[in-house]
């Protein structure tokens, strides 16, 4: 595996999205390889969530019909063959999409079947996912009665139960306590070995501890992209990651003003 170039599991080119007159995403292009964890970093309102929504087919780019715009998942065109491409996707939106009246086991079984898993394989996947996300104890409980941290974990569980090639997580550690955050980060790291993970966050510590690569977003553009190790060296090793991030975004804002 190591001597051949890892395959590209997600490739998005020239995504543009407008809401009314405001362009939220400008010509955004992204690539993700198998076995890579990509962190999408940015201030509030930078367009992270909108980008992830487009990558998962919940929102169409404005230029979806034009040939310059494309989203490919494992080589399948998401915009033209959505049902085929989405089988390789796992998505945790900002608010976990939970049916609160179902039990955890029922909900996860439904999520797995929904992504086209055979019912014979579901039982095994369910046990594995429950164990991975630390949900064994609450399998029979109704989701609505769980605490927010557990609900968030159920949200992550539904995104990975069918072991998709591309896992998209929108702020996965929101609402978790420090111990749980560490657990989830270890889990994401683990997932990153075999799958591709793209996660959005505004926590720099998260980027530092789990991401192989960072893309910084501002005003709907990717303004900086590098491996997280390189980013740390950006300030000659003297600055913390936080300072580097602030410097990059402020420089960019100043450049924009100058133009």
């Amino acid at each position: 595996m190591s001597n051949i170039a890892p395959e590209i599991t997600l490739c998005a080119r020239n995504l543009t999205r407008r809401f009314g007159n405001i362009t939220v995403i400008h010509n955004l292009s992204l690539e993700l390889k198998r076995g890579e964890v990509l962190g999408l970093l940015g201030h509030n309102g930078a367009g992270k969530t909108t980008t992830l929504q487009m990558l998962t087919g919940c929102l169409l780019p404005d230029n979806a019909e034009k040939s310059e715009c494309s989203i490919e998942i494992c080589g399948i065109d998401l915009l033209r063959k959505p049902t085929l491409a989405k089988a390789h996707l796992g998505y945790l939106p900002e608010t976990p999409p939970l049916y609160r009246e179902l039990s955890v086991n029922d909900y996860l079984t439904f999520a797995a079947r929904l992504r086209g898993m055979k019912s014979a394989d579901v039982a095994g996947a369910l046990t594995q996912t429950l164990q991975r996300c630390g949900l064994e104890a609450v399998g029979k409980k109704i989701i609505g009665t769980l605490s927010k941290g557990y609900q968030q974990r159920v949200g992550i569980a539904q995104a990975i139960i069918h072991s998709p090639a591309v896992i998209v997580l929108d702020e996965p550690t929101v609402g978790l306590d420090p111990a749980q955050i560490r657990g989830i980060r270890t889990l994401i790291r683990e997932l990153g070995d075999t799958h591709s993970v793209i996660l959005s966050t505004h926590l720099l510590g998260e980027v530092e501890s789990v991401c192989d690569r960072v893309e910084i977003m501002q005003h709907g553009r990717l303004i900086y992209g590098d491996t997280s190790a390189h980013m740390r060296q950006h300030g000659n090793g003297k600055m913390s990651l936080e300072e580097v991030f602030l410097e990059i975004t402020e420089n960019h804002a100043a450049e924009e003003l100058a133009l």
């Binding site: 809401f19 998962t56 087919g57 919940c58 929102l59 169409l60 959505p82 049902t83 085929l84 491409a85 989405k86 089988a87 996707l89 998505y91 939106p93 900002e94 608010t95 976990p96 999409p97 939970l98 049916y99 609160r100 009246e101 179902l102 029922d106 439904f110 999520a111 079947r113 929904l114 992504r115 086209g116 109704i142 539904q158």
Partner: protein, 247 residues
């Protein structure tokens, strides 16, 4: 896939106490109505017997009963359809369906069939009660079948309309009021229009049910229901697609 979505819909419905409450209450009301009709029939039976061609028990008990169920469903269906899409949107669970490998057709048909199954279960009590009459008398099976078919088609058209209105909004309550307003409006326009050939009669589902209610199978009535249902299901699919387009 459609079956999976329909089953999920049913499971969610039956996990809510309010569903069981409505189920129980409706059986009670229907049983009450049924017994009242049977009692009335027994009272006037001697007079009916003197007529040359007396109406039977099916005409005097079953037909009015189905008519009442049709009216009751008009009020009940919006209470169930309101949740279908509006609530998924409000709870953000719609994202799960939109990011899953499903087409709009799957989502819409899954929800439609799920709720239709539930409502069929809800009103099964009616034919069962009516068939208990077969213990003591001869029933007109043709009339009963035509009524059941009509009621099924009518329910399907109500659901399709409610589903579409539910897809237009994020608030289940607005979806319920909207669907109820449209259904009541169609009904009132129908009974309010005096002229025999008024176009209002043609677009009212309840008016098309009348022939089924009288035991008359008219293909144009059946075609109306199929068209009505299809149009609103297609509109819902389009609306879900626009959801992706306009956010």
């Amino acid at each position: 896939m459609i079956r999976l979505l329909a089953l999920r819909e049913l499971r969610s419905l039956f996990s809510m106490p309010s569903t069981w409450f409505i189920l129980a209450l409706l059986q009670f009301i229907l049983a009450w109505f049924f017994l009242a009709r049977v009692e009335a029939f027994l009272e006037i039976q001697p007079q009916l017997a003197q007529l040359a061609n007396p109406p039977g028990v099916t005409t005097t008990v079953a037909a009015p009963m189905f008519n009442t169920v049709a009216l009751l469903l008009m009020m009940l269906v919006p209470m169930f359809t309101m949740r279908l899409i509006a609530e998924e949107r409000r709870n953000q669970t719609l994202t799960l369906l939109l990011s899953a490998p499903l087409s709009g057709l799957h989502i819409v048909l899954g929800k439609f069939i799920g709720l239709l199954t539930f409502l069929v279960v809800l009103v099964t009590g009616v034919p069962l009660m009516l068939y208990t009459l077969a213990l003591g008398t001869q029933l007109d099976h043709g009339l009963l079948l035509s009524n059941m078919l009509g009621l099924l088609l009518l329910t399907a058209s109500y659901i399709a309309l409610g589903l579409y209105i539910s897809a237009l909004t994020t608030q289940p309550i607005i979806a319920a009021i909207g669907a109820l307003a449209v259904l009541l409006g169609l009904w009132l326009a129908d009974i309010g229009a005096v002229a025999e050939n008024s176009p209002w009669h043609a677009i009212s589902p309840l008016n098309h049910f009348q022939n089924f209610n009288n035991g008359l199978l008219d293909s144009s009535d059946a075609a109306f229901f199929v068209l009505f249902t299809t149009v609103f299901l297609l509109l819902t699919i389009q609306r879900l697609h626009n959801n992706r387009r306009y956010g």
